[in-house]
Symmetry: C2
Subunit: 687 residues, 2 copies
């Protein structure tokens, strides 16, 4: 028997040889086979799960790389066209503006015609989905094409429109994760499992960020901070695995295509390691955090207000409802006209691509000191070696250009976010923050031209480090995250400014979080998506609010002993998706729930015994096959608000019934929880 197994398992060509080789020591053979089997079981216990995560990472990396490749070619073609078109200002202007206008209106028209969900970043919607709300079709794979094509067009319009790709990539990644999850369920033959799906979506969000920035650590942390308020370490590990696969593949492709020698970071900096900054500079870093925090509040407020204005204004709301491509084209025309380089554009460094913006802003050297005595002319063409010259205008100085950039981009960014195209809003914010930091850094380097004297060696102040801190702080404040600090390090490959950048981000977040909802929460509010506010700080401790205080006690129960006529009346007069089923009209003891749709079906398919005049009760209907769902969780009127909130958040619930001594006395859904929380925050609000 042992030999037969050996024969069957050997490769077809060499059964005898193998047999001869191994046949003499069956003990060792069995031992080895057992050991291998044990190892296989141990290692691949949840093997196929990891395979799907790896597939997710690799797929997204391929898409990200392919998209970068295609976009780079289109941008290159545009640049060539712009340079070769001759000396006529009109032709130049047309070649500069027509391109993005056409791309953006196509992006808007194409993606909106396929699916209305494809506009915007997608992170707010994903956040809503992860908190348990079902947004029909939002993660359907058929939206994929619309989003990819639309995003390509958006990115191809380059720094004119000034939008990024993080948000849509999170959405794309979530679509693929949902699709892979369905494939997985089908291949394994497992029943649909909501928590499993959510696990895949969380990993998808991490992969989305990681494959854009090749930054697995901050990808995972950023997606966690943005998406959820609670998370499990298990999801975090899965996210790491998927994000690492994605980031590795993404960078590997750029090595294979000979863009890079080896796997490196995206925006390499070379700050000195010995004395990167002097101690007093910490103070300026914190000040920078404060400035970024205040600016982010202003930005968030204006952005939300403008979005609201567009929705209420008669003209724009009509335009946005009926002809989105026209609105997009108009907005793109405005943006492209302003960025036209020989015009206003030269004062806002508009010839730089978004990557070059970051590359130049993270520059070690002080531009203000470099242009102190000499004033290099504005180069006719972009000089890849001296990108920073784009930021210098002899009549304006560095400070003028940077300040003008901040001023103009403030409203241009807000305008760009209203265009209904697939686009990410993180990278522009990151660059904007870098410009804020750069401005402060340059000011400091002029104020202290001597730099830092440490140990007899003079170390000049590096405005690049302030740009780094500003980018992390502003983007962190706008999105209410701290992991942007880590992102800044992962993007640049250096972590020498660890503490100052972190303190800067914390200061910015302290201001932004206490004054404004985050960018994504703001979008959720404007789009009127369902969401559950946080309970923060000690308020909860000082107000012991119980479910009994805020539950909705007007519930319609169906008693098992109710006559069918009454059931029909209840079903026709109310409009909820499920009814609580109680033991009897008198006792009101909760025994389960009945789905409205199934109940209606069962009522319509009433059996022949229906007409016999004999009074039929609901329990007869149930015993004939109308399915009921058991109650798995229930609240009591004494459950605290905190506990209920935790339950809803962690288990992604929609509503729960409240029972008191077994009797169904009410229910709690998001609506009630939200009201209760807001009345905690403003004690004067109506309870």
């Amino acid at each position: 028997m042992e030999e037969l197994v050996g024969l069957r398992e050997g490769s077809p060509g060499s059964p005898v040889a193998l047999h001869e080789l191994w046949g003499r020591c069956p003990h060792i053979r069995r031992g080895i086979r057992g050991g291998l089997e044990w190892l296989r079981q141990r290692l691949f216990h949840m093997g196929e799960d990891w395979c799907f995560l790896m597939a997710l990472g690799v797929l997204m990396a391929l898409i990200s790389y392919a998209m970068n490749f295609a976009v780079a070619r289109v941008v290159q073609a545009h640049n060539w066209l712009y340079q070769e078109i001759g000396d006529s200002h009109l032709l130049h202007y047309l070649s500069w503006t027509v391109y993005p206008v056409a791309l953006v209106s196509f992006s808007s028209g194409f993606s909106q015609s396929i699916t209305p969900f494809s506009g915007g970043s997608g992170i707010p919607e994903l956040k809503t989905i992860l908190s348990g709300v079902v947004l029909e079709d939002y993660l359907d794979i058929k939206n994929f094409g619309a989003k990819v094509v639309g995003l390509c067009c958006t990115l191809a319009s380059g720094s004119t429109i000034f939008l990024g790709k993080v948000g849509p990539f999170v959405h794309l990644s979530a679509m693929i994760a949902a699709y892979l999850g369905r494939v997985r369920t089908r291949t394994i033959g497992e029943p649909e499992n909501k928590s499993k799906q959510n696990e895949m979506l969380v990993a998808g969000a991490a992969v989305g960020v990681a494959t854009v920035f090749a930054a697995p650590f901050s990808g995972v942390l950023f997606s966690i901070e943005v998406m959820s308020s609670h998370f499990s370490v298990w999801d975090y590990w899965r996210g790491f695995f998927a994000a690492t696969c994605g980031a590795f593949m993404f960078r590997l492709l750029s090595v294979f295509s000979s863009e890079e020698e080896t796997i490196t970071v995206l925006f390499r900096t070379s700050f000195p390691v010995e004395v990167p900054f002097d101690l007093p500079e910490i103070f300026f870093f914190v000040v920078l955090g404060g400035i970024c925090g205040i600016m982010s509040c202003a930005y968030l407020f204006c952005q939300r207000t403008f979005l609201g204005y567009l929705k209420t204004n008669r003209f724009t709301s009509k335009l946005l409802a009926t002809s989105k491509p026209l609105y997009s084209a108009l907005a793109a025309l405005v943006l492209a006209s302003i960025t036209y380089p020989p015009g206003v554009g030269r004062f806002i460094a508009s010839r730089l691509s978004m990557g070059q913006h970051l590359d130049s802003l993270f520059d070690n050297n002080s531009w203000a000191l470099a242009t102190w005595n000499s004033s290099p002319p504005w180069p006719k063409e972009l000089d890849p070696e001296n990108l920073w010259l784009e930021w210098y205008q002899p009549e304006f100085t560095i400070f003028g250009t940077l300040a003008f950039f901040l001023l103009m981009k403030f409203w241009m960014l807000i305008l760009a976010t209203t265009i209904p195209i697939p686009a990410g809003y993180f990278l522009p914010i990151f660059i904007y923050g870098a410009a804020i930091g750069r401005l402060l850094g340059e000011a400091l380097s002029v104020t202290f031209p001597e730099g830092i004297v440490a140990g007899g060696v003079v170390n000049p102040i590096m405005p690049g480090s302030y740009a780094l801190a500003g980018a992390a702080a502003f983007s962190g404040a706008v999105t209410h995250t701290i992991s942007t600090a880590l992102l800044a390090f992962e993007l640049t490959g250096q972590i020498v400014h660890g503490l100052p950048v972190l303190m800067c981000v914390l200061a910015a977040n302290a201001i932004a979080q206490s004054c404004q909802p985050s960018f994504y929460d703001g979008t959720i509010i404007v789009k009127k998506l369902p969401y559950l506010p946080w309970i923060r700080g000690r308020r909860i401790g000082s107000h012991p609010v119980n479910v009994g205080h805020f539950m909705n006690s007007t519930i319609t129960t169906l008693a098992k002993d109710a006559p069918l006529e009454k059931v029909v009346k209840v079903v026709t007069s109310t409009d909820v998706t499920e009814y609580p089923l109680v033991e009897s009209t008198e006792s009101q003891i909760l025994v389960g729930t009945v789905c409205r749709a199934q109940l209606v079906q069962a009522l319509l398919a009433g059996p022949p015994s229906w007409a016999q005049g004999q009074q039929r009760l609901l329990q007869d209907l149930l015993s004939e096959g109308c399915p009921t769902t058991p109650v798995t969780l229930q609240l009591t009127p004494d459950t605290t608000l905190h506990q209920a909130h935790n339950l809803f958040e962690l288990l992604n619930l929609q509503s729960l019934f409240v029972t008191s001594r077994g009797r169904a006395v009410g229910f709690v859904s998001w609506v009630e929880l939200k009201k209760a929380i807001s009345s905690l925050t403003n004690p004067s609000a109506p309870k």
Copy 2:
């Protein structure tokens, strides 16, 4: 009125001037005052909470720095003694060994005499506390002194004993956090709040790690990964704030004491940024991860087995129970004798301190290539410029020394972890991993002496990067964490090896997590502390287990209409802390719980009406003042295992009652959950 307010609020010296200055424009004044008030409310809404977090960070930083300072002085004294004592081998040997033996036995005796909780790292116990178990007195501030003094002695014995300070610092930090939490509750006059206390403890754990390594990011992430299976983003932010304060203060002190020019990282590396590694090296990094994973399994297995052996062996268990200092002294003597430099110690680089171990192992250059043709002699005294020479023995080569180091430290580390002193086990593991990586790196640098040819430039292989990856991977595998990768970057200030190190850590974790419980979980198991196992992977999906399947249905209920005699009988015959209170013996509808202690008190203080022969019922007793607690959460037999597990983990519960249609039918506690989970893992286990 407006003016009066102005007068009252102005500073005493200048009321008139202020009044004159501001009096003319009451509107602006009111506006400014309103704005300031609004800002104050916004910013300091939870102000005192943040103050306590900051205090926690700063205090721990002070303690950490002071301890480092004191330990450095003691170690210096020892080194001086060892060098100056003359040429006699015996004197040398005695001066080398007596010092650590005395310190360790004092550490063990002193700390154990004050409190038995002070031994070990403290992380396993804190993990248990954070999951909701109350370990009496474990976080009492009176343990503080014992732990601090004991830890100082442990650290002062230096690399002889080879133990670190992370674990005890987490424990110390948690003690201070708990103390500050109590102070806070008292000053604010808020009722005790368990979730608030836990928030402080989580922040404390993060501060503990952050103040040892000056690494806020990995401090927060490491403490999260080690401590809990779920966590809230809110706790994560608080942790960041506290950890940043701690790390900043810790580094600030070393600047103030002129140790450093400015705030920098602890173990600075200077890997080249351009081409840090070649693509094929990724393969070796993953192989290194595999090796570290396998080694960590061996280490964890041997460590647990040896600990178990010590507890069961008659001689050692008696020794450990009665005379801990003697056991500690014996173990220290063994360790010190082996590390005696002129003896075996020269082959395991025992003259280096633990920090120097890391510093030397992270060295850029290849030692094997440097000693290929020349063979520098073993220096008589430690050369601070060329620490790596300690690793070279002419007759042994670099490989021999590194391999011998790994071999010896394997059992020496296991022996050291059994000594009952306050000590951390993370840093030794980190160094051990670095040595593994260094060995592989040196082998590679010899195998490929040409290095990496990229773009015509030859970049030699850097064994230091393998040491970095090995340290992260081995410590990550032993503790089952991924954030050790981030710790490696934060310690060195460079993140150029981001992806390879992360892949190395993931590979090591994949092996370790599927074969062995983590170091801390292993300690929890050996110490028989209560814990709740994880539910992993898809097992949960394929086995729809409900609470009804595994709940404990033998509960003793107290009915409101039960006669007191029966109640007395129940109370005397059972021994639970609380009884479920039901409406009546017949209906068994759960209405609340009664605490045993309070019930006994009420029964003993029976009122005079007791003796009148009239049958008194439990409800009479309750109405006379015996307090009952309402049920805030309850399970139903249809609740899934997954939901129940989540509830227990997130809300830190101990046990819950199960009701079916309002009737109390059972209860679920950790014991039942643990059994149910283990029967999932081994379907053959008894249910």
